[in-house]
Symmetry: C2
Subunit: 328 residues, 2 copies
Amino acid sequence: MKYHVTAKDVAKLAGVSQSSVSRVYFEGASVSNKTREKVLAAAKELGYRPNEFARSLITNRTKIIGLVMKGIHNPFYPEVLKQFTTAFNKLGYSILFVSTNNDEIQKEDIDMLRNYNVAGVIITDASLSLNVTEDFKENQVPLVLFNRKIDNDQFYSVCCNNLDASEKIAKYLIEKGCSKVAYIAGNANTSTSRDREKGFTSIIEKNNVTLNKYTSDYTYEGGYKTAKKIIAEKEVPEGIFVANDIMALGVVDALRENSIMIPAETKIVGFDNIEMASWPTYNLTTWEQPITKMVEQTVNYLMTEMVEFSGYTESVEVNGALIVRKTT
Amino acid sequence: MKYHVTAKDVAKLAGVSQSSVSRVYFEGASVSNKTREKVLAAAKELGYRPNEFARSLITNRTKIIGLVMKGIHNPFYPEVLKQFTTAFNKLGYSILFVSTNNDEIQKEDIDMLRNYNVAGVIITDASLSLNVTEDFKENQVPLVLFNRKIDNDQFYSVCCNNLDASEKIAKYLIEKGCSKVAYIAGNANTSTSRDREKGFTSIIEKNNVTLNKYTSDYTYEGGYKTAKKIIAEKEVPEGIFVANDIMALGVVDALRENSIMIPAETKIVGFDNIEMASWPTYNLTTWEQPITKMVEQTVNYLMTEMVEFSGYTESVEVNGALIVRKTT
DNA sequence: TTCGTTTTTGCATACGTATGCAAAATATCC
DNA sequence: GGATATTTTGCATACGTATGCAAAAACGAA
């Protein structure tokens, strides 16, 4: 069976006690340089690694972050995953990854995180109800909704400024001369889609512009099908705001298949600024979500709450920017 | 501070001993149905969850798989991530995620996995040297190279049949009438790129077909730049085999920008069958990597080795298939 | 050198759980 | 009902580590 080098083995070789070995690995503990060097030399010789489980049992803390991700297919999220991993690794934390298909997180999705006593939880692009998270709250595990918000003041969430951004996109399309526009929504009941629609709609309605709204589902196929539907209605709008980029790319492809000139006949604006948006084939005008800032904000909140849990909640919005390319 | 319900609390409420509580949660342990029901009722009432760390300390085993991923940007890998997560969750295992940029895994990349006593390790699309893995081997932690192989009989690896596939792609392009072809490689020294090149080259050289080879780096930008370079050489080949899809999409875009008709003037074949390959804009002919089978093979090997470590090594190749679309 | 203060160290213990072992309880057979 | 076999149970212990506390050591000032 497996043999582990323990702190006792190191202590013996270094000629100190096990608790001195422990103190060497615990930041800020009182230990002389002489002892520290002896211990580190012995540890190196023996290939010692502290056992995180034993530590966690004593300290009742871990260096594990639970990251619950829906929609890893959307190219926006691999980038989010990468940045979270990098940021937390630098801080000595590891990522326990959970993938889900559910728009609303179910208890089964994340119960496992409690077995591992995770230090914090991040949930991307999915909502969840209070009863699913009450255990986390009771156990003072901070939780962040990333790119999703719930309007009940019970969570900490980090989003792009969807409302403001969508208002700006509406104004931009109006400035570009559109008098008839469409909005293609993402998954029903998601805060991102709702806010993007709300912002866009509020400006359009204040101006002499016609608006049709369509529902879709934040996938390439959804965008493609919806555009086909719009085309079938025979009055293709001059401007289309699509709730996210991956959908927008489907819209672009469908319009092209029907020889609709972009942007001459119809201008397209997406949301996210995924990698593919900049590809020459698409060159999509889009609202850039400030991933790095959003990740930073999330990491800062968690690091603060993990040190001293206050349970404070807030809906944080980070400003993005309009990236103008060839679809408008 | 946090309060945990322990097995002792459950035992007290259920009127049994702590070890009976433990036996209820341990598969196959001897416990009467009467005791089991009492314990489960008490556990439910108190919201008890077994502490994985305490368990691991005793059993010296975990239900954690370390998944080390390079290149999460390539749409091939989010799908791999999702399938691994789903498969292992079903088996009661969790994924500890590590992201790396290194073609060759460094010790720092995965040392942390040892602190968590992971039950198994999967490394996607990266190589590593023996000295990085010797601790894992000594500690009988099985490790799988996914979509990468190293020709030294020291690892278990799971790949697509790159050699065979590339031979078939070469034959296919020859059948399509190509007398001048090019191969665009992925990252230098990767088994996937090397085998794809080897297979392609071996068939091309046996036939009266001209071949030019180019190096690139498995990114869209790499494909785009290399195609630009090919175009600048003024003799655009009739067929181009691109070592992976994301690169191939860049090649397609570059050719189009230069009004080169695909497939009339130049046929393009990629490798992977990522989601974007099927988009109408690209409709890329490609070799489909059998992700599901490859994931399955990996999971089976790990489940076997984790139960009883044998350390056996093999290079497993899973058959993919040619998907013919509009670029050829 | 002595004394007071500060730092370092080791001892003993506990964290929550699984498990070896022996005792207790239950089941089966005559 | 008694003897035997089997199953279940609780006790005591250990896993590897951090930590409270008191003792020992080190440091600095007079």
